[in-house]
Amino acid sequence: MKRQASWADRLLKRMELEDESMPKQCILELCNDSRVLIENHMGVIEYGTERVCVKVQYGQITVIGNDLHMKRMIGQILVICGRIKHIDVKRRCH
């Protein structure tokens, strides 16, 4: 079943700003295989050296790797360093 687009999504589409990031939207940046930046997250769900799970607006993001550690956590910005093997995005069920 196809999900109905929200009014904000429809507005962005109308204004041709689909590719631009909006405030409060989660941004995930991967730098090589050693660092990942998650902006606008909603808290850490799970934290370990091989698995870091972060809650975001639409679900959760799981970073899997070796020797993972948080390099920095400032407000809603989170920098995870280590050897990243896999990033999993899990959408919340509506």
């Binding site: 808290g43 934290y47 550690h69 956590m73 809603q76």
Partner: protein
């Protein structure tokens, strides 16, 4: 940026919690910045936070029943905080800073230059009354005022000047010179022969001539007397005139056959000394006597402050350069000896020239010996002060 940087100071802490992710979420919502977060074990993490947020974190942990413990401090400011516990060091550094600001504008040493007969201490004492003393401000020194004071209190000084170089004040003086003409201005004097001679020319300007042209005179004989018989009385005065005559001068000169000259450098030795004011501290104790095969380069490097202020501290560097020497024979020793005699004989005369010479040069063991007789035409009269003046003589 200041908050982010580690210059401001960070605390490395160990946090023990039953639910680490929940704690991190709370910290996130409280806006506490966390860096270098590492897992120690399942319940413990090690994190770094800014020093200003430490109390906030402690309160949060206490409220949540978690344990937090500071492990170490990082950052430059944290290191400086350790200095706070050392008051003597702080006092010393403060004193050093104050001195470095205060000393360039002060006078700590006074040097006198150009004096030969007047004591330096006397000049320094006079200058001290007019602002040049230990610790005096350089700005307050009025060169003109000190100069006038020195000239007024010491008539034997013709000129004086004051300059400051860093912490040293240099008083440069010039003493009055007295001409020899003024010394013999009074009394009775005669002109006597300086050597055995035959008088060839004679001019009497004052006094009475006691010899004639063509006459042979002996050394010390009075040629022009200061006493003139005027019939009723004897006039005593300073004799004045010129007497020229022919003399014979004997001269002997010796020159070595060989001389040593430096060929190639064999080594360099450096000696250091520390100069503090007028004191010198030698770091080496060897003597400064050098042979013919050794050259010396001397250099003084003074310490100066920004702005060109020279402090009275210097490092003296002496370089002793040793050379190989080689002996070489004089090719023109006879010429050198003749030249030497030609220039040295006129120096012994009051005034005159060599008319003829009879010279013999002989070579002895390692030396050349020149002996000769020189026929000269020279001024033979010199002034002699009469010490015992008779009571009946009337002085003009």
């Amino acid at each position: 940026m200041w908050k982010d940087s580690r210059i401001a100071g960070q605390i490395v802490a160990e946090l023990t919690s039953a639910d680490i992710p929940a704690t991190l979420t709370v910290l996130q919502y409280e806006g506490i910045e966390i860096t270098d977060l590492r897992i120690k074990d399942e319940l413990t993490i090690i994190l770094s936070i800014h020093k200003s947020e430490w109390n906030h974190l402690c309160k949060l942990c206490k409220k949540r029943g978690e344990k937090i413990e500071a492990l170490s401090h990082r950052g430059i400011l944290s290191h400086f905080e350790g200095v706070k516990k050392r008051p003597i060091l702080i006092a010393g550094l403060t004193l050093l800073l104050l001195l470095s600001l205060w000393t360039p504008g002060r006078i700590f040493f006074v040097r006198v230059e150009g004096n030969t007969t007047i004591e330096s201490a006397q000049i320094i004492e006079t200058a001290s009354y007019f602002g040049i003393h230990f610790g005096a401000s350089r700005v307050a020194v009025r060169s003109e005022k000190v100069k006038n004071a020195i000239l007024e209190s010491m008539p034997s000084i013709a000129w004086a000047g004051v300059n400051t170089y860093g912490c040293t004040a240099v008083i440069t003086v010039r003493e009055r010179t007295t001409t020899s003409d003024n010394t013999v201005s009074e009394g009775v004097s005669s002109i006597v022969a300086v050597a055995d001679a035959i008088v060839r020319n004679m001019t009497v300007l004052r006094g009475k001539g006691l010899c004639k042209v063509g006459e042979a005179v002996k050394e010390g004989q009075v040629l022009i007397s200061g006493y003139t018989d005027c019939g009723l009385m004897i006039q005593a005065q300073m004799a004045k005139g010129e007497v020229f005559g022919e003399t014979i001068r004997a001269m002997t000169a010796i020159s070595p056959r060989e001389y040593a000259f430096r060929t190639q450098q064999t080594g360099v030795k450096q000696k250091l000394s520390l100069i503090i004011g007028k004191k010198r501290i030698n770091f080496t104790n060897s003597s400064g006597i050098s042979g013919t095969g050794c050259a010396k380069i001397y250099e003084e490097k003074y310490v100066s402050l920004p702005g060109g202020f020279v402090l009275p501290f210097a490092i003296a560097i002496e370089q002793w350069i040793s050379y190989d020497t080689e002996l070489c024979e004089y090719g023109n020793a006879e010429l050198l000896l003749r030249d030497y005699v030609k220039y040295s004989i006129p120096l012994k005369m009051v005034g005159g020239k060599i008319l003829a010479a009879e010279e013999t040069i002989k070579a002895y063991d390692g030396v050349f010996l020149l002996s000769g007789n020189y026929h000269c035409y020279e001024m033979i009269g010199i002034t002699k002060i009469e010490e015992n003046m008779p009571h009946y003589v009337k002085n003009d």
